[in-house]
Symmetry: C2
């Protein structure tokens, strides 16, 4: 009686600090995972040698390479079409890195690559809150704001592989905040974790007569977590920071709906866990700003991926799609 | 020797005033066309009876129904998924009209329906400037501003069939102009033909000391054509109206690129023919507002569909796709 061979995929998430990787089954269970430091090697060849060694070990100990159907990679500035990482500002290797090709040669399996927000969207569609959905938008609220857009069951990569930069849509054309991308007024400067801290600093400065728990913290060191804690304790300025963040994000989401008319918008990342503090003003603002034909139709959901595994799962989901 | 049977499709464009229809071959030649008045009949049944009679005559005289592969329809508030026209404000028939079903029963061929901007996008992909393109955005600059978005070779209809309302993306959040959709600051209120006339009235009022040819025309009756003529004659206020229109449209297009990273943006409609008056500031503004990774990559093109036939061609293109 032949035993059925259970297939696996590998997910790799390359962050500025850590590169995490794991082996995943078709139901989204992470069999085993490990990590290396992204910044240890200035030379890409040295980095890839260490990654190859550690990942080979993990595969060997758990399932064997013959059961690995493919490898999916989430990385900044990753180009899905070419498999390259192109000029990533926060990675040590400069220029254009042919990541997929090098990995595929080393392991002898297909390797697919995209940015982390796109990977999160595919992960959500494969294992999470977007199962069965053909049209949704994933918004990741972290240090920055990322997005992955799925339309008619397919991720929108665009002509060059770089579609879905919704964190850099301009939400304030006048006196907009300076963004790292070079533009002013990008969504990311308002609704990322750093954007929330920035709003708190602004509010504390412009409302200098008003008392706030946040005044105990040096202005330059306030984090979104500090603002969240203060708001939980009833601090008015902190609560207003979340109200403003929800307002701005809701306005932006209403515009995104006009583009692709999604069934749902799925939020991921630390800020998405702020509960009603963010969600109440966000829902209200989105609905207020939707055109009549879209009102009450778009679900606002949270990611169903477990935090610890989300990056690996998202990247791994890409591998199920690869040929 | 069997003669090859050349297939045809029918395109119908339902406008507020006229319903135009024609028979089209695979290369985009309009074999014959005709029209009826959309508003003549308050009852949908009477309208459809007249359309059936006139279209049947046209088909009979030209190719015969057996060579018609399908019928494509462009109409306001048309839902591609259901084949219905839903609550169209400028058509005489209220509520939900099962247009595709009724037509398909009458003619015995497949009937597909979408809004006019989506039809224009499919037309452009089938016969026009977007042949061979898999990722582009069509922007129609008419009385309103419409859009059709093609990603990976497919039109984005969204979850409910109403995707692509880019004319209603908010481009001015503060003191934005009131739009017919209920929101303030929609792109359409600035870059449609009526938006251009509105800008001219604003400029004439706020720059009341400045001379302009447009002052010979009663403020309420100024049209975009008047502004174009004055700008052609060197009128500074009129030229500034186009510069402002290009600026606003360029900012918006740069944001659209962040969404779907198209190979090209294709402009259609009267305003698109304003030449350098509009195009120079538009190109400049779009490039200035693009993120570094997109700069210099996105083509700005004009529709290649002949004006007289564009509506019929766009609608007909939908029929080649129908099953």
């Amino acid at each position: 009686m032949a035993k059925e061979i259970k297939p696996y995929v590998v997910g790799i998430d390359i962050g500025g600090t850590n590169t995490v990787f794991g082996i995943v089954d078709a139901r989204g269970n992470v069999l085993a995972s490990s990590s290396i430091k992204t910044q240890r090697h200035q030379q890409f060849d040295d980095y890839i040698a260490e990654l190859h060694e550690e990942l080979s070990k993990l595969i060997e100990e758990n399932c064997g390479i013959e059961r690995v159907k493919g490898i999916g990679v989430g990385a900044p500035n990753a180009n899905y079409y070419t498999g390259n990482i192109e000029h990533a500002a926060n990675l040590p290797w400069k220029g254009i890195i042919p990541f997929a090709e090098v990995m595929s040669n080393k392991f002898g399996v297909p390797v697919a690559l995209t940015n982390d927000a796109n990977a999160a969207a595919i992960g959500e569609m494969t294992y999470g809150a977007a199962r069965g959905m053909k049209d949704f938008i994933m918004i990741t609220l972290g240090t920055g704001v990322g997005s992955g857009i799925v339309s008619n069951g397919h991720l929108i990569y665009g002509h060059d592989g770089f579609a879905g930069e919704l964190g850099h849509v301009i939400v304030r054309r006048e006196n907009g905040r300076q963004c790292g991308c070079g533009s002013k007024g990008c969504l990311e400067t308002y609704t990322s974790a750093t954007g929330v801290a920035r709003t708190a600093r602004e509010f504390l400065e412009t409302r200098s007569n008003e008392d706030s728990m946040l005044r105990k913290i040096a202005l330059d060191t306030i984090t979104s977590k500090d603002v969240f804690d203060a708001a939980q304790d009833g601090d008015q300025i902190a609560k207003d920071v979340f109200a403003f963040t929800g307002q701005v994000l809701g306005e932006a989401l209403a515009d995104f709906v006009k583009f692709s008319s999604p069934e749902a918008i799925i939020l991921f990342g630390g800020l998405a866990k702020s509960g009603d503090l963010l969600m109440k003003p966000l829902r209200q603002s989105m609905e207020d700003n939707l055109m009549p034909i879209f009102k009450g139709k778009v679900k606002l959901l949270f990611s169903e991926m477990k935090d610890a595994d989300a990056a690996i799962l998202g990247a791994s989901a890409l591998a199920w799609e690869s040929k």
